[in-house]
Amino acid sequence: DSVNVGILLGFTGPIESITPAMAAAAELAFSEVNESGLLLDGMTIEAVRGDSTCGDAAAATAAAERLVTSDDVAAIVGADCSGASIAVANNVAIPNGVVMVSPSSTSPALTTIDDDDYFFRTAPSDARQGQVVADIVWERGIDTVAITYTNNDYGRGLSEAFTTTFEELGGTVAINAAHEDGRADYSAEVGALAAAGADDLIVFGYVDQGGRGIIQASLDIDAFENFVLADGMFGDSLIEAIGPELDGRAFGTVPGSDLEGADIFLELAEEAEFDGSSSFTGESYDAGALIALAMQAAGSTDRTAIRDAMMSVANAPGEEILPGEIAKGLEILANGGEIDYVGATGVELIGPGEAAGRYRIYEIDDGDFQTIEFR
């Protein structure tokens, strides 16, 4: 017996370079479930991929529609970009009563969406991260910064949240300028940012996109002292691409509460031959795991039942479940116990069904991300 679960991510389009790893992560969770054979008396999960294209709401809706009505999925991991997530939620998931667990939509707008409780996300809202970044920057004694953000709801939302907190703290934002992803050249942006007179640059962008382009260009002409990064910039490819020049010059935040979970996940990813440090892979794994666990807790693959079980498996009380321990979780649930899924990113769903937003503060040094603290 098997049940379909949709994976709706932007396999083509602007974020196509990070999606394969995200999908692989979600599927890793499913294969753990399937190998254990413990889900609902040996039921297996069949992943069905759909292409959200990230950009095109109409195409995303069509793909979701197919997943829901034709492939009859019990729940969906996705979508990724906030625009696509909202379109899919409003036009397909909510009307049809299908649970969506987005690993990467961080727009604050999703907090207030009228979702009949069907929309969840393992990524926290940007509003919180902006505050955290502002705090750590201020604490390090930096009072003037330049900001560059990727020109979409993620970047813009983060920069607004950051600016508000940072100015309340007494800091100055010398320049706050957007950059477009996927452009050929970022010298103009770096020129303007550098001229503003700040020594430190905050980059609210994507690691495989304009964000990296900007850091690269800044380093090439030695425009800034330090770089402050957010979750979108967290990823090994940053270090691989830029090399030792960033050592000791960059710090930032990424969602996560527990070093242990993240490390285990990295190992699992390595075994499964994908890059576990790439953006939103942990969140994707967690999204997949949550869906499976919720099914088990609900005792059925009924869509609404999955929704109702979601919060209880994600949060305390109960036994903490780390990556690789899904089988254990399934077993506990089957025996009528309770679990608190922690996973790769320290999942803790709050209010409207989104990650609470614990952040790991990291620094780049010795060619790697070094964890400093959590908050």
Binding site: I18, A188, R212
Partner: protein, 337 residues
């Protein structure tokens, strides 16, 4: 004196060198577009993805060489792999022409039919590249990254500002100049070049002059694919390889080709630099430059920026539209169809 030196160093670092390198990258791409346009009379939307394909082949061969420990010392290994990439791209382009464009040429289809066919070809290339090498971001540069480093040069010159010059930037510029001169010379002076121009002007009459159209088309694709691979590889060396970026590069490349006067090799070069310089110089904040040359009390409060970088892309296009309004056929008076 030192102030002026500092100011010009800032200007060089942030405006001139980046614009030159970026302009040269655009120009190389635009040359290929312009050539196809000149001879085959259509705007080839697949050019960006042809660049990506050629570069992909270069990367695969580069990896092989790197694994074998073959290298060029301070120069990137990719240069050694370049010929292989060119061959791959040429084969692909020739195959495409054989199976797609030749049919429409025989039918004497309208140029727009070719354009749309090239959109179809773009989809196919797009998929091929991604299926072969995936979608992720790839750095394949090795060798010496910098000719001059900002920090070192600052210490060495003892000035407040330094100068940075990457090897890939210099390489791009040199190659661009060589390629355009060679191309221009061969179009104007060689027999084949003249045959190409004649063919582009009037196909029927070219037949009557004994020109073999098949050969002309073939040579055109060979040159275009070569240019595409060179442009793509240089761009990839300078930035990084990501298939999606090559598609996005198409817009500024087209802009460059058209503004320069479509069908004109020198126009492509001029267009590339116009686009690059307008993007960078109009949105640059001149505060830092001014801070070196203006006395304290004259310093403006703001950033001395003409327009925010939010509008960078828009600005370069406004410039384009303005250029076209003054010179409706582009800077070098390209052909109109």
């Amino acid at each position: 004196m030192e102030d002026i030196l500092n100011a010009s160093l800032v200007l060089a670092n942030f405006v001139i060198i980046p614009s030159l390198a970026y302009g040269a990258q655009l120009a190389l791409g635009a040359l290929g577009v312009t050539l196809i346009y000149a001879v085959l009379r259509f705007a080839n939307f697949a050019h960006g993805d042809l660049m990506a394909f050629g570069t992909m082949a270069v990367i695969l061969v580069t990896w092989f060489f790197q694994a074998q420990g073959i290298g060029l010392g301070p120069l990137p290994t990719a240069l050694l792999a370049l010929p292989f990439g060119i061959i791959a791209a040429v084969l692909l382009a020739m195959g495409t022409d054989r199976f797609v464009y030749r049919f429409y040429r025989k039918k004497r289809a309208a140029p727009v039919t070719f354009v749309i066919a090239s959109v179809g070809v773009m989809f196919v290339y797009n998929a091929l590249t991604r299926i072969f090498i995936g979608t992720s971001d790839i750095r394949f540069e090795d060798g010496e990254r910098f000719l001059i480093r900002a920090r070192e040069s600052r210490e060495w010159m003892g000035l407040a500002e330094g100068l940075a010059l990457r090897s890939s930037q210099a390489l791009t510029l040199v190659v661009a100049i060589i390629v355009v001169v060679a191309l221009f010379w061969s179009l104007q002076k060689t027999r084949t070049g003249k045959a190409m121009r004649a063919y582009s002007d009037n196909e029927d009459l070219a037949l009557l002059s004994g020109i073999n159209p098949g050969r002309v088309v073939l040579i055109t694709w060979v040159i275009a694919a070569t240019l595409a691979t060179i442009a793509g590889t240089l761009y990839g060396l300078d930035k990084s390889f990501r298939p999606f970026n090559y598609f996005m590069l198409l817009l500024p490349i087209f802009a460059a080709a058209v503004v320069g006067g479509i069908g004109q090799p020198f126009g492509a070069i001029a267009g590339g630099f116009v686009v690059a310089f307008s993007e960078v110089s109009i949105t640059y904040a001149y505060r830092r430059v001014l801070s070196h040359i203006l006395p304290e009390e004259w310093m403006p409060d703001g950033l001395a920026q003409l327009l925010s970088t939010d509008y960078k892309f828009a600005v370069s296009f406004i410039i384009l539209v303005l250029v076209l309004l003054v010179r409706p056929n582009g800077i070098f008076k390209g052909r109109v169809i």
